[in-house]
Amino acid sequence: MKKIIISKEFDPCFNIATENQLFLDSDEDIHLFLWQNDASVIIGRNQNIYAECNLEYLKEHDIKVVRRFSGGGAVYHDKGNINFTFITKEKMENQAKFIGLIKAAMAELGIDCEFSGKNDLLYKEQKFSGHAYYTDGDNYMYHGTVLVSVNFEQLGKALTPSKLKLQSKGIASVRSRVVNLSSIHSDITIDKVMQAFIKTFDCENIEYIDKTTFKAPLEQMLSSYDWLYAQSPQFDMELEHRYSFGNISVHISASDGMMQSVIINTDSLQLYDFKSCEDKLVGKRFSEQAIWECIEQYIESNDFQY
């Protein structure tokens, strides 16, 4: 029997792990999972974390990053955003129907929108809802976001990677112009969007879950270093730092989150042999901070002025 499951938790790891557990337990009915996250960046399965967000900004503002199972690009969530997930068996997959349901819910709120080729819902060519899907075995899920009153300033900063020169394999995000539903009709709230979903899905079988009532075994895996960083596709990165004696540039090639090769160059006229730094860094987890610390330590220990 079809069911609506609503998460009372705002922890993105719990919610995405829950979504995956519901997906693994899918049956031939269509179920709707509604959930909201605290401020967080959710990147696509095959994305490079370094290319998608400003990790320093996220740390400062206590914004979590989570890698999801579905494909596509990075999105920013906060409590001004609501997420929906349709879960069923792959043979019941019906994208047109899912989009129809969301459009109907939007119509309920007085929003007339269209579906773009990029799997987005647009209001006057501005995106307020991005979608992606995931399939494994015979399970299928179709999920997306709905921007209601999201903090766009934070969204912009969170999704702007620091100015790194990065060549990454894998999937890159596409930037879109975004709009909040509340700025189209000021009376639209998260609660109203949720009610509209429940109404259009036409289902009275509603289950509320939280960490005490629902066990999502993958929650821990989702917050592991390996899942978040090491699952980044292979990438090459160029870092630069200006010191008083000149510029230092570092070329890193990383796979599975580990630095496979590090080449340090400087335009300084002083003679540096960074081989020992390079050797130290190779094989370690990629971390910009660790790289600069290593170089500075080397310079200090060699009594260079900088």
């Binding site: 399965r45 596509g72 399939t135 060549q167 596709p233 130290k280």
Partner: protein
């Protein structure tokens, strides 16, 4: 078995996401091998049967069509049976337990020599090797390259036969298939020779990947799994080819030393990145096969491990032989031209240059191999470069009963050093308290002519402010060298003025690889110049250069 991309409706392309396996990984049926995205959907691609990943035919981020081949899984080595579907369980369930006196991990020239030496001294030895007996040296290093050197020397001799009065009519053709085939036969014979020695010395050879469980216990995963408990352990896992982050390094025409040794088509032109030992040996091999060769070296000279005057001599000879050498040059990227040729962009003080060639050989060196060893489970410290295993002069690590020898220690990457270190390690296991002495380690580079050195170099001696004298004698003054039409090069001896002892020597010239043994014997035993000058050297041989160089310290060489 080939794993293919799923069919995408509408003939659209998908994008390869994270690839979750590496070549050589074991997979069970149902294991996820890669992620693939279509539109914004993601789906895992799974292995359809158990096996070992033998080829990865796709690349992260690349576009992929329906039914395109993604992975080749070799399922031949996997025994039937349900156990194999979960290797981790299998390891716990079916591991055989072995107790041994000495466990040696890695059967290269370090490991297998140590094994024989230990067995001859009465120890019960278990030797684990994940690939072939003989290691890098025998399989993809010293020996196979020397087989190629010989073929290329013959090619060179034939091309220059007219000079010696032998006329050859008709085209001279290098059959690269046969060159590689002959190399494989030489290799095969040596590997089976080691196999014989293992059996003769009753060494228990186990095939598989070893990983430390703790300081005394090692798990081996292979066709059969083992848990080995040993009183002493020698790590001799060798080295692997260093990786370098040059864009385009994965293009199909880019070779490394291993793939070059099995490449059966001879390119018309090749660009070699790295003018070190591996790069220069290959440069002369290819040149002698008639290939147009470029060498791109980051440093300001070739072969930075030898003295500057030897570098200069080999660079001059290379240039005369039409090998194009680009020093102080940094490779920026490798690209493919529309007709599939390699386009290499490199930068020197004059700016960026483009170089077009059929193939590229990356020869930037080797680094310690700790892959899969789980050395962190032992508490063994790595050396200050953070890579190799740290050892003391007795080849012991900081953990009692664990020793390390050879390339994995990152001290000197030479087969004969590894072998010697192995003997020292075993002696210490036998409580004989030996120490490794590196003051007379010979080193040979098989360029044409060959280069060999031992002991202290001139540059090194001067840099250390030692009170040394240097003598020199050119091969142009040696009769045998002239009959061979090899008048290039010189020998150089280094004497410690304070002790009168000969402490180093370098040879670039004919037969350098053979001559260095005599010099090593002299240096290792602390000979002075008199002990050499009063020795009779046979005439006419290239060995006379040693005599002449020793005379040069005193009254001067007789034939100069």
């Amino acid at each position: 078995m080939i794993i293919k991309m799923i069919a995408i409706p509408g003939g659209k392309m998908g994008t390869v996401g994270k690839i979750q396996v590496k070549v050589g990984d074991k997979v069970a049926a149902g294991d996820v091998v890669a992620q693939v995205e279509t539109a914004k959907g993601n789906r895992p691609i799974k292995a359809t049967s158990a096996g070992v990943v033998s080829k990865i035919l796709c690349e992260e981020g690349s576009q992929i069509a329906s039914n395109a081949e993604m992975f080749d899984i070799d399922d031949s080595g996997i025994a039937n049976g349900p156990n194999e579907t979960d290797n981790r369980n299998a390891a716990q369930k079916t591991s055989k337990e072995i107790n041994t006196d000495l466990l040696i991990i890695g059967a290269g020239p370090g490991g297998y020599v140590a094994a024989i030496y230990a067995a001859k001294n009465g120890l019960k030895v278990t030797l684990v090797e994940k690939s072939e007996l003989g290691g890098t040296c025998l399989n993809v290093g010293c020996i196979p390259t020397k087989a190629l050197v010989k073929s290329s020397e013959i090619s060179h001799s034939v091309r220059n036969a007219a000079l010696f009065g032998v006329q050859i009519d008709g085209a001279i053709k290098v059959n690269m298939k046969q060159v590689i085939n002959r190399k494989d036969k030489v290799k095969g014979r040596l590997v089976s020779g080691i196999d014989f020695l293992m059996k003769k010395n009753e060494i228990n050879v186990i095939s598989g990947q070893a990983s430390f469980v703790n300081g005394e216990t090692v798990a081996v995963t292979g066709n059969e799994n083992y848990i080995i408990k040993a009183k002493d352990i020698i790590v001799a896992t060798g080295s692997k080819i260093s990786k370098i982050a040059i864009p385009g390094i994965d293009l199909p025409f880019v070779l490394n030393s291993t793939t070059a040794l099995s490449c059966t088509d001879l390119p018309k032109s090749i660009a070699i990145i790295g003018g070190g030992v591996i790069g220069m040996e290959f440069a002369f091999i290819y040149k002698n096969f008639g290939v147009d060769v470029h060498v791109i070296e980051f440093m300001d000279r070739l072969l930075t491990m030898v003295d500057g005057d030897i570098s200069k001599e080999i660079q001059d000879i290379a240039k005369e032989e039409n090998i194009k050498v680009h020093t102080s040059s940094k490779v920026m990227k490798i690209q493919s031209s529309v007709d599939g040729k390699a386009v290499i962009t490199y930068e020197d003080k004059d700016g960026e240059h483009l170089l077009v060639s059929d193939k590229v050989l990356v020869a930037i060196g080797r680094e310690p191999n700790l892959e899969g060893l789980a050395i962190e489970n032992t508490g063994v410290l790595l050396n200050n470069k953070g890579r190799g295993i740290q050892v003391d002069a007795s080849m012991s690590t900081n953990v009692k009963h664990i020793y390390a020898i050879g390339d994995v220690t990152n001290i000197i990457q030479l087969a004969h050093v590894a072998s010697h270190q192995g003997i020292v390690a075993v002696d210490n296991i036998l409580n004989k308290q030996k120490e490794m002495d590196y003051s007379a380690v010979p080193n040979v580079i098989f360029t044409a002519p060959e280069i060999a050195s031992v002991g202290i170099g001139e540059d090194e001696g001067k840099a250390k402010g030692m009170n040394i004298a240097v003598s020199k004698f050119p091969f142009a003054g040696n009769g045998k060298a002239l009959t061979m039409n090899e008048p290039r090069g010189f020998i150089k001896l280094i004497k410690n003025n304070e002790t009168g002892k000969i402490i180093g020597g370098s040879i670039i010239g004919a037969d350098a690889s053979s001559l260095i043994s005599a010099l090593t014997l002299a240096i290792a035993n602390g000979f002075n110049e008199k002990e050499i000058t009063e020795t009779i050297f046979p005439h006419p041989t290239t060995g006379e250069v040693i005599h002449e160089a020793a005379l040069d310290f005193g009254i001067g060489a007789l034939h100069q």
